[in-house]
Symmetry: C3
Subunit: 357 residues, 3 copies
Amino acid sequence: MKRSLIDVTDLTVAEIEALIATALDIIADPGRYAHVCDGKKLATLFFEPSTRTRLSFEAAMYELGGHVLSVPGSAVSSAAKGESVADTAKIVSCYADIIAMRHPRDGAALVAAENASIPVINAGDGGHCHPTQTLTDLLTIRREKDRLDGLTLGLCGDLKYGRTVHSLINAMSRYAGTRFVLISPDELQVPGYVYQHLDEAGIPYEVTADLEGALPRLDVLYMTRIQRERFEDAAEYERLKDSYVLTPDKMRLGKPDMIVLHPLPRVNEISVAVDADPRAAYFRQALNGKYIRMALILKLLREAAADLPRRERPDAVTGRHVCRNARCISAVEQELPQVFYPLPGGGCRCKYCESDA
Amino acid sequence: MKRSLIDVTDLTVAEIEALIATALDIIADPGRYAHVCDGKKLATLFFEPSTRTRLSFEAAMYELGGHVLSVPGSAVSSAAKGESVADTAKIVSCYADIIAMRHPRDGAALVAAENASIPVINAGDGGHCHPTQTLTDLLTIRREKDRLDGLTLGLCGDLKYGRTVHSLINAMSRYAGTRFVLISPDELQVPGYVYQHLDEAGIPYEVTADLEGALPRLDVLYMTRIQRERFEDAAEYERLKDSYVLTPDKMRLGKPDMIVLHPLPRVNEISVAVDADPRAAYFRQALNGKYIRMALILKLLREAAADLPRRERPDAVTGRHVCRNARCISAVEQELPQVFYPLPGGGCRCKYCESDA
Amino acid sequence: MKRSLIDVTDLTVAEIEALIATALDIIADPGRYAHVCDGKKLATLFFEPSTRTRLSFEAAMYELGGHVLSVPGSAVSSAAKGESVADTAKIVSCYADIIAMRHPRDGAALVAAENASIPVINAGDGGHCHPTQTLTDLLTIRREKDRLDGLTLGLCGDLKYGRTVHSLINAMSRYAGTRFVLISPDELQVPGYVYQHLDEAGIPYEVTADLEGALPRLDVLYMTRIQRERFEDAAEYERLKDSYVLTPDKMRLGKPDMIVLHPLPRVNEISVAVDADPRAAYFRQALNGKYIRMALILKLLREAAADLPRRERPDAVTGRHVCRNARCISAVEQELPQVFYPLPGGGCRCKYCESDA
């Protein structure tokens, strides 16, 4: 089993710095990397469609000189015949050198990584993790602000269901001097465990429903989409979706060197008229996504060639609990054992989806 | 913004001649072109499936040495999440060097071209334009007849809804000595603006419902499919679809050096028994489609590298009209302004779908 | 027309031996083959999804240095517009150098091969043939057992509908000393013509419903999936599907050098706990699938370049019969003539689906 990337916290701060340094070097001198993956094959296994993320990975592999085996959407997969994620990972290991996988189930990427003999990059597993988005965000902040420490980040929109937000909070918490401004309607605040994490780590943050009031204090404004598919109540969605729309008028309240990020695709939460503002960094962010993925593919292929040991996960218990997260891969994967990590305060956490049982 | 190809009339006659010359040179010496696009990436963004057109573009790019980022159908796109064509074009500009786009909406390719930072080739936008089909037709006529002027073209079948027919009439009207024979049932005649165009340009044409009677006079017979999806009334389709089926018997009425073209796919409008006739040029036409697309990709990438200015469009008015074409991209694209060109005789024309308002 | 591969019996034993020898040479020295198909294009035309088979072909082509034109599933094909398989084959011949085609209709690959000007590899045509699976099986047996003769093969599960089983019986029947043990519930025994073939050829076989009893005698155990889609009666499927599940307990009854094969994907007919047994060869089998496809692509492209004559099929009769197999391509393909081969004992057999009329 090779080193994979499931969650951004699988990487140390030093490793993230090294990835960013590689990405910056690729940007400075792409020709030097144009053939470093000659003859290598990336399989993009997308069990649900995400054209933007898939193309970003595929463009990255081509710019490294490699090939792509593309599985563009759920309809075109053997999954229809009931094949397990574990078996798919084993078989694709025969055909490719590295996998980028998107799957609708929480924890699916970990199951793939544990069964593949090649590195697996999590390109989004349900509502769980999407580490290459977070790496993209970090590279963008680094390029736009010239640093990752001492920044005040405003996170705006759907902070409850937005996995990119949780992951970015997690990653930025590791840099000195970070402050968060959490801007959302009451119904869409970050989950309790995020507050707990911030409190325990002693990271300063404020919670507000007022985007305009918060804007003047921000170095980075991270906008997110309010996703229709996260709502069980359509009327609730209709009521909230326009609450936090960024417009040129609101942009006037921001610092001259503030930047605006967005994981994209946007619907209407950033007015098209904002695109012309030089502080609108979200399309540059998409470009950075390609470069950080190039750095990541290169790192994992090099570690696989060197056969470095995979990082160990902590001791776990099996058989005494059943994961209650209906979206967890353990709810559907054939013969996958229930595995839990004990929590310090009692209770335990599912190994795959990391929800508490 | 780079030079794109939305409509075949974006190209001058001289530019078309140059494209044909490049295609003929590629055919004569393909090895000389086998690496001219090394390291370049074509994104084939197909928001509706069209396997033949997509494969033709992808084969063209491979034969130039480039890579392909493939988005094979609407189901596998971020469109499901509500992303605008404009945003998709901006993002794909981060990953690819040139885009070939098929979209079900009239005018979608123009919206993409105005937002992409790379060249966009319209691979079909609804019922509006399909310029690479017309370029394919022109290369085929040129190769089969050794000239493009002084030819009598018979256009047969669905002349009302067939965009390839309108585009070919437009393109061939620019060559001296062209005559048209418009062969269709009354219900499927070319639209009034085509007659108007021919009358104004003084191009000779005749209108007939009699394929057999017209055949002896033709240098080129262009057959088209009567498409089920263009009919609101299924019974009407059933009554008409077999009206203009080309058979070996009818072929006996044609000149010995007549050629038969068809944009393909055919259903039954050309009998399979006609395929063996050397005058049946429609499969050679498909092969020519690859070569002219190679020439076009090469031209646009070279112009993009030279950073040539994009051809200006005429001054337009906004805000006073709303496009009444339900299939126009302006009916669905987020925040896209309504833009119209004033017409000489009063009234105005939608910038995107070119229907009159 | 070029040499194609529709059925494994299109190949002589000597040709299969040569393919296996090429595959073994590729495995021993892959670098020597890394550019033998530079500039060549494989089109993977999958009219129904089969991700594993498609990726195996595409990986094979990339490891030979070639390009891939990918049509990943039925939704993304011109088939929706009513194009015939014959026309698709003619058109794709303009874009690619070789085709691998999967189609839901029996006989579709033969229709494609007869119309393409490039080689066609049948990657599965309905319930009819899947020759590269059989070649994969043969390479695996050869690598695992060091020989193909003198072996006792147990075939277990759905022997009625499983085309891979019928094809493997056919292929292994040509090696001296082969014995078969046919293990299935009564409802899913091999069809009568297979028994007839074995009897006529004098191949020893036994028929049993008892997997455990048969296990100790086997050199090779070939497990197959009981496919839900083959059953008209869902209750019957539910009753039978767990009947022949291979577990570690049952594995204890097998010889120490027995091997277990499976065409994959599996559902639950082999317990995941068996994977750790060194005799479980089914994932190694998937890897062999890539190598034998490399050997096959190479062979057919070389024969196409040398323009070797296509093997002749026997004289056939037309017009007097109609194929009664509802899944036959002749039931739907436009203008395809009904063609039959006379059988020695009277009656005749459809040229396309090989069912008796």
